[in-house]
Amino acid sequence: MTQQPSQDQALQEYLLRLADSALILGQRLCELCGKAPAVEEEMALMNVALDLVGQARNWYDYAAELEGGQRDADALAYRRDAHEFRNLLLVEQPNGDYAVTMARQFFYDAWHYFTLQALVNAPDERVAGIAAKALKEVTYHLRRSSEWMKRLGDGTEESHQRMEVAVESLWRFTGEMLTADAVEQHLATAGLAPDAEQLAADWQGLVNSVLTEATLSLPPADAWMQQGGKTGRHTEHLGFILAEMQFLQRAYPDAKIW
């Protein structure tokens, strides 16, 4: 039987979830540097990645303070192992083709947008401040990924087909975004995390309307969902991401001059 976590512990855990998801998706997008289908797309992907890494840093800074200052943002990002990462399974999925990259982005952006919208009203100045800043950026992210869903879904026969496959293959990772565990329920009552039911309804509403406009099929409501990211049970992909992302800091700990 585990003890009820204190509010600070719960918040610290939740901040790591927000930070880890932003960081891992940022890292995934950076893999496309030099490989995007067009130069404008490359700039957009890298700008989105930069926003996400910056947001992750803001959350890590606060998480590190709540923890008591034994570790800083860099230590949280670069010195934890896969089982300590709290990111959503969705964001660690490989880039795949551009339909997969954009469908993953869209599902995440929609969740991110509504999550931040709730956090802007959190009764904690730091959380509300970081969220307000991030929300402005994520509004652009969501706008762009929604447009891509429509362009590819309602595009050529091939792009439509690929987008159908992408939506279907990623759908099973969307469930854990919308279900709150004890940590999130605890925080939601204090206004420090979104209300899960409201979040799920908002997300579903937007996703339905965009998929419909994109002439894509809506996955069944009772589809099986894979969970585990928020508690550190990851797919096999995360280890490979960390191996690349953390190499330098692990090989040269505390190096000050690169």
Binding site: M43, V48, Q55, A132
Partner: protein
């Protein structure tokens, strides 16, 4: 790899005095006599590293300047969470103040309230346009989630006959546009 016959490097003699940057900061050369107006004018000389025609004051990222017990405190807000120029800007602000004789100024980062393009001054907007970047149009507070892009005027010929090429441009704060009349591509400083 060691080559045979290499002479060992001479060991430098120890320094008589350690070189520590803070030791070299000049004492207040009348720094505290600077009025608030003069301090704002001073920071108006610090340019944004990514758009070197506008100053950090014109961009609206310097939020406050105040003395707290003989220490000058400057609050700066980043334009974007991941803006890679944030640290450089903070260093340049501190350097400008130290050059004016202010000892140990404290530059702090504030996120709240979040920066908005509404804070870019009129002179800043004019300088952006002259530099070839279309300044933000309309108010950031009226930004809609899924609305259509607004009409942006070409900074080169003034035509409103333009189209968006990409929602994201060379830096996070810009979008890429093209003028249909003069055919020039240009950056648009987008509302946030």
């Amino acid at each position: 790899m060691q080559k045979s016959g290499n002479q060992p490097r001479p060991i430098p003699a120890p320094l008589e005095q350690p070189i520590i940057a803070s030791d070299r900061v000049p004492a207040n050369v009348g720094g505290e006599q600077l009025t608030e107006t003069q301090l704002w004018q001073l920071l108006d000389e610090v340019k944004d590293p990514e758009v070197p025609v506008v100053s950090v004051v014109e961009l609206g990222i310097v939020r406050s300047i105040q003395w707290l017990d003989n220490q000058l405190q400057v609050a700066v807000t980043p334009t974007y969470s991941g803006c890679p120029a944030t640290e450089l800007i903070e260093q340049q602000i501190a350097a400008a103040l130290m050059q004016a004789g202010i000892r140990d100024p404290q530059v702090t980062r504030v996120l709240n309230p979040a920066w908005t393009t509404d804070w870019i001054s009129d002179s800043g907007r004019e300088k952006l346009r002259a530099y070839g970047i279309a300044p933000p149009q309309g108010s950031a507070s009226k930004m809609t989630l899924l609305g259509h892009a607004e009409q942006i005027s070409c900074p080169h010929c003034g035509s409103s006959h333009t189209e968006q090429v990409s929602e994201f441009g060379s830096t996070a704060c810009k979008a890429l546009y093209r003028c249909i009349d003069c055919l020039e591509p240009f950056d648009y400083f987008k509302c946030i």
